[in-house]
Symmetry: C2
Subunit: 407 residues, 2 copies
């Protein structure tokens, strides 16, 4: 007998039939003798409707009231799922964030979970009752409803699994696991049976939308046994595990891509100390995240070029800020490109295989794809390329690293 946390996203609970389908999946774990806590999101579309009301009612926007409004989506789903379970003859009750309670900090709209007091829930689980838990929500120190930000239900599930010391945390979604790359681009993409937390973290932050980054980090920290699987099929999913649970990793794990990138090059900067800090400090103060940075060696004339990437949505704002500081910075010219994509090769295997970077650059060069910026970490190599080559680059790398399925 195990204690299992299951999480179902908005698509999986999108209408009454799908909620009944979720109830059936929960029942099969109960029938197998397990204790089950189910975390659910709002029905697909509901949160968007609630968010747009909260935005449209007026330009000023109290995050505590925003949270009060949007948290209702999950409240509806837990009630409906509890009733659906009862109709299958299963003892079940809904739990709202404040009822458990799931205590958060006071950053309304993007709160972090501080603690979960699950003594009473554990008692009920031991008595055979299924806990149906509202994802995405908790209660802030001021006694108001707090939400965890978009995708927060994954985090709720992982945090609950950690608090309950659950044997497994199954994240049900509309895909049946984590793939070597996006199957819409590379039809030969394969589902991974296992992936390490570190790899999953890179994949998630690089644009694979299967799991929210924060939830992966939390699962890694608390050593939660995580599985990504499909709500709509019985196929086994992908296990997210510690690195020591994967005996030997010969291949890299996947190719991720992040399409909405932009690039800025500042040419002819005076090569003096503090000039980079001055640029990036200004951007950070204006909440612009800069990702990859390359600084060219200073030429004879004591001038340097700096190139960096950032989110496409921030491009105009960044250009305005830098342009406004032209006199202070003393650069010669500024150049930008709003059509670049970041392509990343991810895998713990590259720790023992020094040739990965070379293989990646050669593969792209053979297709005539120019690399504009490079950045690396211990388990990933990312390059910035022109967006028009995205699909070609992903497919070529997928093949080159031996990830294509055989059928």
């Amino acid at each position: 007998m195990a204690l299992i946390v299951q999480k179902f996203g908005g698509t999986s609970v999108g209408d009454l039939d799908r909620i009944r389908n979720v109830a059936t999946r929960v029942k099969s774990e109960v029938d197998a003798g397990h204790q089950v806590a189910v975390v659910v999101s709002a029905m697909a579309g509901t949160t968007n409707q609630l968010v747009s009301w909260a935005r449209d009612i007026g330009p000023m926007h109290d995050a505590r009231e925003y949270d009060t409004i949007v948290a209702t989506g999950e409240q509806v789903t837990v009630g409906l799922l509890a009733i659906a379970l009862q109709n299958l003859g299963i003892d079940a009750r809904s739990w709202l964030g404040w009822q458990i309670p799931i205590r958060t900090d006071d950053i309304h709209g993007a709160a972090r979970i501080d603690s979960i007091d699950c003594a009473l829930m554990r008692e009920r689980l031991a008595g055979g009752q299924v806990a149906v838990v509202a994802g995405f929500q908790g209660i802030a120190p001021d006694g108001r409803v707090a939400t965890l930000g978009r995708g927060g239900s994954d985090t709720s599930a992982v945090a609950l699994a950690a608090a309950l010391q659950a044997d497994r945390c199954d994240i049900y979604t509309d895909v049946d696991g984590v793939y070597t790359t996006d199957p819409r681009i590379a039809p030969k993409a394969q589902k991974l049976d296992r992936i390490t937390f570190e790899e999953m973290l890179e994949m998630a932050s690089l644009g694979a939308k299967v799991l929210q980054t924060r939830s992966v980090a939390m699962a890694m920290r608390h050593n939660v046994n995580l599985q990504v699987r499909s709500s709509f099929s019985d196929a086994p999913g992908t296990l997210v595990v510690n690195e020591d649970e994967i005996v030997e990793q010969e291949k890299i794990s996947g190719i991720a891509y992040s399409p909405d990138e932009a690039k800025i090059t500042i040419q002819g900067l005076p090569d003096k100390p503090g000039i980079a800090a001055s640029i990036f400090g200004e951007l950070a103060e204006n909440h612009i995240n800069v990702d990859m940075i390359v600084q060219s060696a200073a030429s004879e004339g004591q001038q340097a070029d700096i190139t960096f990437s950032l989110g496409r949505g921030d491009l105009d704002k960044a250009l305005g800020l830098i342009g406004g500081a032209r006199e202070k910075l003393g650069f010669r010219a500024i150049d930008s490109d709003a059509a670049v994509t970041k392509i990343s090769v991810v895998g713990t295997a590259m720790r023992s295989q020094p040739g990965v970077a070379r293989a990646m650059f050669e593969t792209l060069a053979e297709r005539g794809i120019n690399i504009e910026v490079i950045s690396t970490s211990e388990i990933k190599i990312s390059v910035l390329i022109a967006s028009e080559y995205t699909e070609l680059a992903v497919r070529s790398l997928h093949t080159a690293f031996g990830l294509d399925s055989e059928d």
Copy 2:
């Protein structure tokens, strides 16, 4: 400076524009220097949607989960209205039932308010903050969300006004007050400036849908200064007051009608003790409310007839129950009519004017309208008539009792 409770129903908060309109109405009381607590319902249509989901998800139906689901409607409205108020420069916060808390009994789906702890709210009100309170909801002893049943927001408002010892409780609705009768039937109906609690209670229970009966009874008990007025106009509404606040009442106050009635006559019952108790006990056990009852004098042959009225929706069930007990009861025949209407003349004036009953019966007789059953209380006379005469009866009585407007 006064403390005012305002209540806005579902139509008044039916969309974002209407919620902004409500915010403007709240602002005008704040600008006049008053402390304001606003109780709101769910946006029109929302509760019906939530109820139908809760019903459709499965035939079994846990009232605690039902409450969890349907209470979200008000939760959305309070958040939106708080933001709308803030956008008008007014300090405001939303309060959910469990946050105040409004403590109820454990009859989920039709809970009664036990107590309201408004110490913190009173402090905030004194500090100039508007309290935006979710109507219809509270927290049950088990810590679960409880709802007060349909129309419960009126009760929330009156209970809050009593707890806060508010100077006034204004119920905003889509009509501009209490009328002498339904203006859709009698175009000469007039708005009443004042009505007593007792009369309002009779009007409400007799089909005038302006206020929920329970809220009127509660306002009477706690002597809450109640006013019914329109969300969509600035016209003064109707004050619901104690009888001693109306110096002299010469006219009756109104003509109410309740269209969805049915009538059953049981003929040839043995005239022995306990036979009526046996019939009505059986119906009560099956949750069928019987309203007006007439028992004819026993004839020579020791037999009596009993006629009574009941809700039309209960007719078939009642006929089945009585038919099934035919042997036990020993009656001769049973007869029913599903097309009867109850017409009532209501007014404290009839205490001092003995001629009201006669005037009512004569007026109906002059139009050839047959009276099937009569029942009276101290301040109302009700008769059952064939439904086809409803409009004619209402209009004739309205004229006969001098209630027609002159224009």
